[in-house]
Amino acid sequence: MSQSLRTPLLFGAVALLFILQGSTDWWIFAGSWNASLTILNMALISAIMALGVNLQWGYAGLFNVGIMGFVALGGLATVLVSMPTTPGAWSQGGVGIVFGLLVGAATVVAAVLLRTRMAAGRNRTLATLATLIVGFFVYRYIFDAGVAGVEAINPAQTGYLGGLNPGGPENYKAHGYMTVLAWPIGGLLAAGAAWVVGKTALGLRSDYLAIATLGISEIVIAVIKNEDWLARGVKNVIGLPRPVPYEVDLQQSADFVARADSLGLDVTTASTLAVKLSYSALFTVVLVALIILAQLSLNSPWGRMMRAIRDNEVAAQAMGKDVTKRHLQIFVLGSALCGLAGAMMTTLDGQLVPGTYQPLRFTFLIWVMVIVGGSGNNLGSVLGAFLIWFLWIQVEPIGNWLMSVVTMGLDDGSALKAHLIDSAAHMRLFSMGIVLLLVLRFSPRGLIPEK
């Protein structure tokens, strides 16, 4: 089958899955448009993450195992931009926190300068160490006082710096557009983190980048979980503003009720569907724009250079290409996409819950999407995202169905049966691993291979 036929067919098949999920409750399908749209919205976001990973892996062969961290940074950006500033937080400690962080940064810069300016020897080592130690204690002294000040403000409700929403605590939900502003900021935050990682780990062995990204993602999560002044840590930030209308407002608008009636829908259902559809529309706009950009870049001289580097680094180097620099560039770009998607995801959830960031869900699942869809092909990774996310959600009904078939012969009360049915949830990890290995082994180019 030619690829020009294969791509639309596969996309059609995946679309059919979503339609079946909405329209029929046969076999594993839920028969609810609400459920179908919920899956679709997350699939759109996952597709953006998959595009980012495809940039890194498909174009450049870089192995990023820290997607979760970049996604979480995007989520953090949503809070920092779209929530209102906590009253008094800046005067009671926010300034101290920022000043403390600046002192910390200045210490590192001073140490780096000392290392580059002074001649190597015992004096340089001593001076660097002394700068670092003194700087660390000054930083902790200023920073800790600031943190204590901020966290003391109404800890049950706020106790954090808050964001930049101009509406203030009373009226911030009227400024829903702030969440959309947060998306590019999320991308920027992730790009900054990626630059630091890339700068240290790129240019070394390929596995080192994998290990370094694994580390940075664990640390990002640890910081978000523990720094309560930043985003309330595990106390979670809830009630983020929304870029789309609220269901309650829709239900009270006479116009909307009339339109729902004319479609023959119950008002409550219609309002949830309308909200979900508006999210889908927003996300689709972003995704389509990114796909177009990615396709253009792939076919540009820059994209050809990237693939040349991926396929033969030595030859590309001989042609005068700075491999490490190009790698850094694309690594930062790909991570920025993950950050953007992370900010969108937090917007969709309407809350930031650091405890939900699990590497298996956010890092490895995205990898499965890219590999299954077709690494090196943008449309392929998007398709992989839709398909795998659908399966990820549906693995549970499939697993339950499978387990009920397997345990049909067992007595109802038997312990083994109970254990097997309870364990159906762990089928997810297992089946994703099997899918990854099978595709990697038998069809390493994925569903829609690179041309």
Binding site: F63, E218, I219, G433
Partner: protein, 336 residues
């Protein structure tokens, strides 16, 4: 007296736990480094294979306990350990046959191996959670302490107690035995020498008639032994929970890289470097400081450099510093 008290507090809270943790990391890092040296990839499934080995050991421990077999005062888990190693070795050899051998044959890039190991990690994680569940499991039995804090206080008359857990003692003794045996094997036996030759120069080793498949199989068996022991000791010392084993991956990798990937001696040194840094940086030094400093200088806070939640950050920062300044590790490893 104050000085002695400070010393005891230091050993109790820093030295002994760090040595025990360092031994566990060193055993784990030895496995990573061996796989890296022979098979030439970073095995991401390491943490979850560790969990698998510990799980099999736990299942056998429970079985022995239910039959009343015990080696009191030592924990029954030691008796179950050989069975854990056996099953893990079989599993690893099977994984190699099914997954990795194909990529060796087509001479795939190392990064493809890494990716395959990620798939294996998923599956192992699923299997472990499927069999034993995601929660905490208790399987330690036997005498809990070699030295109890109260006995120590009574015997010495100091204010500070020194507790020395059996699990810590066993960890240290086992680690020494395993490391000595491993080095004897690598340096003195014919098979060990062929492994080192293979690791140093694959082509030359093939040319001199070393069978690569045999070398690979023996590597997996040794790795199985190392990580089952490391996993069981970690479980005895702290707790068995599948997710913590996944998280151990980072400190283990850090240990192996800090020491120099592919260098067994480096892996051991790296394990202790990481363990000591983690423990000293996240320990609240107030107790020690109170004994050592005059009253006027006594600290008001906990004197904790970083909260324990950031212990992964410690291994990561050390890893980054080593990558920046000495990418081959403290002891010269193979990689750049």
């Amino acid at each position: 007296m104050d000085f002695l008290n400070a010393l005891v507090a230091l050993s109790n809270f820093v030295l002994i736990p760090a040595i025990a943790y360092g031994s566990q990391l060193a055993l784990g890092a030895l496995g990573v480094t061996l796989i890296y040296g022979i098979l030439r990839f970073s095995n991401f499934a390491h943490g979850d294979t560790m969990a698998f080995g510990a799980m099999v050991t736990i299942l056998f421990t429970w079985w022995f306990q239910s039959m009343g077999i015990s080696i009191h005062p030592l924990p029954t888990a030691l008796l179950a350990l050989p069975f854990g190693i056996l099953f893990t070795a079989l599993l690893l050899i099977a994984t190699d046959r099914v997954v990795y051998r194909f990529y060796r044959r087509v001479k795939a890039k190392p990064i493809v191996f890494v990716m395959a190991s990620m798939g294996v990690m998923f599956i192992m994680n699923g299997v472990v959670r499927f069999i034993i569940g995601p929660g905490d499991q208790r399987f330690a039995d036997g005498e809990r302490f070699i030295i109890r804090a109260r006995d120590f206080k009574n015997a010495t008359g100091l204010n500070e107690g020194l507790a020395f857990k059996t699990s810590q003692g066993i960890t240290i003794v086992t680690a020494i035995i395993v490391v000595v045996a491993l080095f004897w094997f690598l340096n003195r036996t014919r098979t060990g020498k062929s492994m080192r030759a293979f690791s140093d120069n694959e082509d030359l080793a093939l040319l001199s008639g070393i069978n690569p498949e045999r070398v690979v199989m023996i590597t997996w068996i040794i790795v199985a032994a190392l990580i089952t022991i490391a996993g069981t000791l970690y479980g005895l010392d702290k707790t068995f929970k599948p997710f913590t084993y996944f998280q151990l991956l980072l400190p283990i990798f850090a240990s192996a890289i800090v020491g120099g990937l592919g260098n067994p001696l480096g892996a051991i040194a790296g394990g202790f470097v990481i363990a000591f840094s983690e423990v000293t940086i996240t320990y609240a030094w107030k107790k020690v400081a109170v004994y050592l400093l005059p009253e006027s200088l006594e600290p008001s806070g906990l004197v904790q450099l970083m909260s324990t939640d950031y212990k992964f950050a410690v291994s990561f920062v050390i890893l980054i510093v080593v990558l920046l300044f000495k990418p081959t590790g403290l002891f010269k490893g193979q990689s750049v």
